[in-house]
Symmetry: C2
Subunit: 454 residues, 2 copies
């Protein structure tokens, strides 16, 4: 449920939105944009295959079957992936697995999952130093198989496994990649890796409900069926509700209206330590989808800022309150805790603390969220809140699909391609040039002329 | 060392800076601002006590003495703190301890450190469930002792310890707080806690080199003397160098100039997994210090955005490249890895990958940083780079003190108080009101009138 109370106030003055009027006046345009998106889901080149993933029972079954084969055989899972190949799984597993799974050792529920999402040799070598190669499964995730970072990490993991288990090393690799194309797919045939496919019509940052996200989540012990059920609920709402009822479209509308009023920043601030990486996952989704050069030449996109409540009330909220009015702030709150935990009443000599006695932590956390949202409103800082009953797999699935649908609608209304990322190509070419890859000699000369050598 | 090559280009056109000219024309103003700041360091009310912390041998000795007492007695350290009471320690320990210390179990070097920086009951109860209360030390850090989040967490940790070790529970608590005032200080006397002081002239977000940051770092096995040596080097440079040579002042100048040109976002993007929380620590430092209402009524501050390279090249860099030209991007790179790790050459059937063979991960990581910085330059996106020889305690200390000095200089030149945080008071009052604390009935009525009850 999206609570937009704090963006509707007349007191916003010159910048103020009459939210009910906005809903009425944009209703037809949003329905048309929604219908246009949905009409293209069967067109592979439209890259909208992600919309139907929550209802793709065959894809889930394939991941479940593979996960079942590994149950009990491994203690640790290394996920080699970057960007869309890691952030969704990381967000889900952090939210739904035991928050200190690493400290439970081998006895906890689900594998311990380690995301290698950087070419940081100190970090990778430290991980391989502490894991047991005989009890570790490696899931290498790259749709194209050409991701330099992922393939570099694959090479070192392969060598590490081979040194320990010899010729059977390939039994400890699962590849998640394009069904036909790319560099990883021929390795699957060559080495006999287990493999799952990423549908060609699903881009990385929209792939969380494909095997990219579901296999690591299953191995971590997450209820993936419930996750997809929630995502499917978001789909149903999107397909059947009008703008005045639909969270995905309303979130898109709020962003579009405030972006047009010069607010170039959108903050996502879940009030939950476990849900914190939802903000990281959203940052990629939003930034890479909407940060574009429009065909008319103007530059689109607002900058996502990650925050966590209540923690960041002691960090960025001072700026949100008193600084420039340049952002829309989106909160996520969960009404109930997973397990109610009370604040003990054990400092009788400190009567100033009595007000906390026997209240639940979740009550305090939610009071802080409501207090912050309303303090921001008094400063005319627009904000809205995704209010969910609890942090469950189903609600998380709903939230993530809702945010993907929102992102797609914004792209549709802005008239940009939300599913490509042409802006990162030059950086890749420059990297190849600096690494001496054949074919990039022109770029190398160009960099050398600027005095850049590595 | 600050590499400002990518902000000096004439090709920036209308927005372009002639950096050498800017250095000349601002040199006197920066020297004056620097001298004004330094002239107030002995004035306790100026809140500049943090400047001298790196040279405060007595404060370090007190923390070292206490840390030595605990050596071998505990496996785990829980740090209860939020904002400035946690982010500095978190950044340092994540950067300098073994990156997978939790997976090493009790046998690793230094205690395993767990930062409880939120009132998230699910997260706190999960932590207490997996730790051994007989082998866990709790460091409660709150300068005022009135921080609701920290004191709530203290209450539950106290009950947890007491249930296990009985009357000796207080021997497992160290309080880091004001030397005289506040709620925690009388508990020190009452229960006999070990205690360290936060100097009254040091605010939370500038407290990393006080006992707030040094005790957890020492217990984690960090070379804190080297850390402070690096911070002291930053001080010496700041005191003796002119703008044309000084990294702290140049970083301040770049921010001031681009903020004046409407760039309301500053990105800090370390190319290092281990150094990632430096960006979180910086976000608080920058946002809470500079997000202010100026006495003339205008609102100051730019919004810090956290990123990690190379990881976020697959996330936000598309937006940085093609999106609006609304940010200054600051990279941090380390020329050498802690331990050189080579990419094995083991896919002979994939000649496309040969260019990676036997190159080091750090070479690739730094090529990606240089590539990204220069790709951004071609899009006229201003960026600069802190280039350090390696991620060592000394260099980290230098970087953090440099960033604190930069922040202070920006506040000084903007004419704001960089050391208070008045904007968070209303949110605190609203929280108290929603939690039923006596004395906040007016705020409660005000919220109820808006339909807000918790």
């Amino acid at each position: 449920m999206l609570n937009t109370a704090n963006i509707t106030r007349e007191r916003l003055g010159a910048e103020g939105l009459e939210w009910d009027n906005e809903l009425s006046s944009h209703s037809a345009a949003f329905a048309a944009a929604r219908d246009a998106l949905l009409s293209r889901t069967d067109d592979e080149s439209a890259m909208l295959g992600w919309v139907g993933l929550p209802e793709d029972a065959a894809m889930l079954a394939a991941a479940q079957k593979l996960a079942a084969q590994y149950a009990g055989k491994f203690d640790d899972l290394i996920v080699l992936g970057i960007g869309g190949s890691s952030l969704g799984g990381l967000a889900i597993i952090t939210a739904l697995q035991h928050p200190y799974r690493a400290l439970q050792g081998k006895s906890g529920h689900g594998m311990r999952v380690h995301f290698v999402e950087n070419v940081d040799g100190d970090s990778i070598s430290a991980l391989l130093e502490v894991l047991d190669p005989k009890r570790t499964l490696v899931n290498v995730i790259s749709k194209s198989g050409t991701t330099t970072e992922t393939m570099s990490a694959y090479l070192i993991c392969k060598a590490w496994l081979e040194a320990s288990v010899g010729a059977n090393w390939s039994e400890q690799i699962v590849a998640t990649t394009d069904p036909v194309k790319g560099v990883l797919r021929p390795m699957v045939a060559q080495y006999g890796f287990s493999a799952l496919s990423v549908p060609p019509s699903v881009g990385g940052r929209f792939s969380v409900f494909s095997s990219v996200g579901t296999l690591p989540a299953l191995l971590a012990g997450v209820d993936v069926a419930a996750l997809l059920r929630g995502a499917s609920r978001a789909n149903q709402e999107f397909k059947t509700q009008s703008l005045s009822d639909n969270a995905a479209m309303q979130f898109a509308l709020a962003n579009i209206l405030y972006a047009a009023r010069g607010k170039n920043i959108v903050v996502l601030m879940p009030y939950s330590t476990r849900a914190r990486f939802i903000a990281d996952w959203f940052a990629q989704l939003w930034a890479e989808s909407l940060g574009k050069i429009h065909r008319d030449g103007h530059r689109t996109g607002t900058t996502p800022v990650k925050a966590v409540g209540a923690t960041d009330q002691h960090s960025v909220v001072q700026l949100f309150m008193e600084g420039p009015n340049d952002k829309l702030i989106a909160f996520v709150r969960f009404e109930a805790a997973g397990k109610e935990t009370l604040i003990p009443n054990s400092e009788p000599t400190q009567p100033d603390m009595n007000y906390l006695a026997n209240k639940s932590f979740q009550t305090l956390l939610n009071a802080e969220q409501a207090a912050t949202a309303n303090a921001l409103r008094t400063m005319e800082k627009p904000n809205l809140t995704f209010a969910l009953e609890a942090l469950t797999a189903e609600n998380l699935g709903w939230l993530m699909q809702t945010l993907m649908l929102s992102t797609a609608i914004v792209g549709e209304i802005w008239g940009i391609d939300a599913f490509n990322q042409p802006g990162v190509e030059l950086g890749k070419k420059f990297t190849y040039a600096l690494m001496g890859r054949p074919g990039f000699e022109d770029e190398r000369k160009r960099l050398e002329a600027e005095g850049v050598t590595g």
